[in-house]
Symmetry: C2
Subunit: 337 residues, 2 copies
């Protein structure tokens, strides 16, 4: 194993209250209409404001009591930039970091390609090769050690296009939306196709969402209490659950046990979650983030190199989901540095 | 399928705020020493009070910030009476209710024995037969329909010895403990060997613990959105996860993602959870409920008919866990009717 990198743990950072990018919460109630400064006037912004006002108006026909005010957010492409996939960048850097302890990797696939880091060859690895890289870099330690590895990496890694730390390639308008919902009694959950413990390592700091409100894909862990050792969890190189597509409503049922009333996504992996959340009678909100801003982010959902990722966009008008155009509807994309 | 019984849903009851048995919370702070009226002076009671005061004392050496104040409770035998196993009683009653639609059950095991309900023959079914009965009675519907079935049953079923509804065979002293912790900024979780959706159906009403803070054993669910139908989860007759023994720390890692600082259990199924929670440095609390009250409850943990269930009791003095004697240390066992 490589030496354990140092870095502030999630617990330490959470303790310090470093929820750096979430707007401070005013003591009094703020009108919903003033709560989304980075959202230009648009149908999507109005739909959010109307929804929040409707479900919080006591005595109103759409009132929802606070315990049932649950909102679910996809992460990649909905709360932060997913091009490149941050967790895969982490895996590639980990491979390089671990390589001195694995001389065989220089000639063994998929590690050879990961070390070479050629875009086209990486893309040709396919899901099986990518899974092998993810398992090799995510397993073999305790959750606490893995959390430190993730945070150590985040403290130095930079986004290749925007040259800023990944925790600042989150979307400022979505931070305002999270804060608006939380101020109005919502519990915000992340329901990510990404790794549950990868996201938990920093979600509280970046979004104000604590680990127990992060749901994601997972590898298996086992409990170990060796003679002379300590009782710990140990992360195995085996998949446990893929939290994507139809897996998202299944995971919501398992982790939350209550159907949310609002869902936010951007891609086909969020389609079933949006359907599940918005179908029942009663006031519901579904929103799809449309990646059409080539200048300030990346325009890709209607024109992805790996095929179209826009079934959720296609279904939006039919199902009454709002679509937010990043290019037209957001005055800012990322928070100020 | 049998007709769906009517009954108030968890959502309805939660909305009405019917947390009937939880002591009302005073507006001001209540000294921890006054918060456990059903606990007689004892080492266990003092350990609880000292722990709460230590981890909430700002600036003190054992201070723990609120987000890390997580407490985990076993359910069966820790928060409510587990003799008989309530969920198995539910299954047996469901078998009887479903039997008219399954004429083959009168001659097929384990259903024949379940319908006959002979104690000795039921005990001889073994874990495989019991699992078959559980799956047959817990699957095949949506989570919402299952929740209604559980609550309809609870509204009429009575404990065979105490002749009171099962939601009143919860332990009054533990309700006071839950309320004390919650008032002091803790998030209380149930980590049950019982079914996650069985417990979620009533945990908020009985304990003030919402569904998203209930972890338990689970069957698999799948997402379905049939043409012309609605997007729903569907419960399959397949086990997903057994939340018992070493499974409890694994489930805590998966659902909470943060190691709790207090654990409450009563049996061997809680041993690993107690070990996992109390091992790290820093102030921790482990407590074992000792079932030694033959008059007011059942005396069984040191003398169980199915073998000794007292490894947690044996380890308590070695690991610094408190043991509460139900007979000696609790002035009341169940809440007033």
């Amino acid at each position: 194993m490589p030496p354990r990198p140092t870095g502030l743990s999630r617990r330490t950072l959470g303790t310090l209250g470093l929820l750096a990018f979430v707007a401070p919460r005013p003591a009094g109630a703020q009108p919903a209409s003033e709560a989304l400064p980075s959202w230009k006037p648009s149908a999507a912004r109005q739909a959010i404001i109307d929804f929040v006002e409707a479900v919080t108006r006591e005595g109103g026909p759409d009132f929802v009591p606070p315990p049932a005010r649950i909102a679910v957010f996809d992460n990649d492409g909905t709360l932060w930039c997913e091009i490149p996939t941050v967790q895969f960048e982490f895996a590639l850097d980990r491979i390089r970091q671990m390589a001195p302890h694995h001389p065989e990797w220089s000639t063994t696939e998929p590690f050879r390609t990961a070390l070479k880091r050629d875009e086209a060859e990486l893309a040709a690895l396919g899901s099986r090769g990518i899974m092998e890289l993810m398992l090799a870099t995510h397993a073999g330690s305790t959750p606490e050690a893995f959390e430190e590895e993730v945070n150590a990496w985040l403290s130095t890694a930079r986004h290749p296009k925007f040259h800023r730390p990944y925790l600042t390639t989150i979307y400022q308008p979505m931070l305002e939306l999270l804060a608006l919902l939380e101020r109005n009694g919502f519990a915000n959950y992340i329901v990510s196709g990404g790794g549950i413990e990868f996201v938990r390592a920093w979600s509280e700091r970046a979004y104000g969402i604590p680990p127990q409100r992060v749901i994601g894909s997972s590898i298996r862990s086992v409990f170990r209490f060796p003679q002379g050792g300590q009782p710990e969890l140990h992360r195995l190189a085996e998949m446990d659950f893929i939290d994507d597509g139809p897996g998202k409503p299944v995971a919501i049922g398992k982790f939350i046990g209550r159907r949310p009333i609002a869902a936010f996504g951007n891609s086909d992996g969020d389609l079933e979650m949006l359907q599940y959340v918005t179908a029942p009678p009663g006031r519901r909100l579904g929103l799809v983030v449309h990646h059409d801003d080539a200048a300030r982010e990346v325009a890709y959902d209607r024109q992805s190199p790996i095929g179209r990722l826009d079934r959720a966009l296609d279904q939006a008008p039919v199902r009454g989901w709002s679509v937010v155009s990043m290019r037209q509807d957001w005055s800012t994309v990322f928070p100020p540095l």
